[in-house]
Symmetry: C2
Subunit: 267 residues, 2 copies
């Protein structure tokens, strides 16, 4: 049996809690990890306060195989993540020679002064390995099972490219979606519950969408590691939709069409 | 001195962790709470698993004045939030007469069968008070300091309208933004750090944006409860931007223009 590999994400930044910034890094990281069979099991968003970051990182790294932090590794006073990670692991922090070299070359190349503030970005917890940043140079780092990434979404995506080769892989979760236009959750809830019991190895989700009075319905999503079980349940979900006189639409994978949009309606 | 009032948010749903859905409820709730002087201090995203929900809710309700949960109160088998809240508080759960009446009338009005699945949405923890849902009828509920809301963004916004009158209010955090087009974080990091020390009652944040080679810069955001301190620091931030030969732009409040967008560049 494949080892169960799990991940958690710790987003660091006052701007996420105040509502100034809407996070997108959870989607990037979860989507990146899925093909490795590493499901994200918990996310926390914490402010730029060292004690709070330390407590969250220590709780998460004890509970999950991997932890990804984002944010707080830039040059300004509120960038305290590297110090917090060092404190969480009880190690020292200092200028990393390779990080210093990367930064010095980067700023020389763009004819920009390598200020002492920018030099702060070379401060890396002792024993950590660097994570390449193809977008803006300043590296992230890995400390034990914790990957510390930037907060800027494009840089996060860039850094993920230096992480795949470090991961143990688990059983890959696949998914199938059956959409029923015009369907309402309350119509199929009981039958869906029975299917969830019958296919206990799968996770069945029900996601209503409602864009206009004409365009609403329910997306039924099955997730699991056994393709034959997914095929079988997809057939049952299609039949369930048909019993309500609606022609189902089956899609391989998650149905992302309704993602993030407004989805109220009559449940 | 005004009592410190705080809030945490617990988002419940596998679809948020898998990356299927990008959350927007944190922004809605944080933006709603700000004028009441209730800052959001922590967010957790947890899966549709009762034990995990119970642990998260109990940790958060002990640490913060208010907790807001979203998701998991619909009619399907994966809607287990009401049971989890009852378990977290150690109370029973049963059909709430008023909730049952609201739902029965709602479905009668739209000529839809009030199935036993839909009837599940009337199950409310003992002792809870209902939270009106002007969008789709099925109510949320308040149990002690925990507000349990729907997951659908429009319904969340609707339910918040029945929450303001229940809140104790704290000192309102105001903010001012000074934008410097063409500025880079590394240019102003040291001076900004000195201002953060000088104005220790305020929180100073630095948020770079980078849309194109022509359109990039840094937004400096000061947040705090003392308007005269905010005015004073805004003047200093403007002067700081000017020392780099850049004309600053001051905005009252948070600068939401860069929110959620890609913001890499040269720090």
């Amino acid at each position: 049996m494949t080892e169960t590999i799990t991940a958690a994400i710790c987003l660091i930044g006052d701007e996420l809690l105040s509502g100034r910034t809407r996070d997108i890094n959870v989607q990037s990281i979860a989507g990146f990890l899925a093909p490795y069979g590493v499901p994200v099991r918990e996310v926390r968003i914490v402010p730029d306060e060292q004690d709070t970051i330390v407590a969250a990182v220590n709780a998460l790294r004890a509970a999950y195989t991997y932890v990804f932090t984002t944010g707080g590794i830039g040059p300004t006073h509120d960038d305290i993540t590297a110090d917090a990670i060092a404190a969480a692991f009880g190690v020292s922090i200092g200028e990393h020679p390779e990080a210093l070299k990367i930064l010095a070359e980067r700023y020389a190349a763009v004819d920009t002064e390598f200020t002492s503030a920018r030099r702060r970005m070379a401060r890396i917890p002792d024993g950590a390995s660097l994570i390449a940043n193809p977008v803006s140079g300043a590296p992230g780092f890995q400390t034990g099972n914790v990957f510390t990434l930037a907060g800027v979404p494009k840089i996060v995506v860039g850094m993920l490219g230096d992480i795949g080769h470090r991961l143990k892989t688990g059983a890959v979760v696949q998914s199938v979606t059956v959409r029923g236009a015009g369907l309402r959750e309350g119509d199929i809830a009981e039958a869906l519950g029975a299917l969830a019991v019958a296919y206990e190895g799968l996770s069945l989700g029900s996601y209503p969408w409602f864009r206009t009075v004409q365009d609403h319905g329910v997306a039924l999503v099955a997730r699991g590691t056994d393709p034959s079980q997914l095929d079988a349940v997809a057939l049952e979900l299609e039949n369930l939709v048909k019993t309500h006189g609606i022609e189902p639409v089956r899609l391989a994978g998650d149905d992302l069409a309704g993602s993030g949009g407004p989805r109220p309606g009559i449940d």
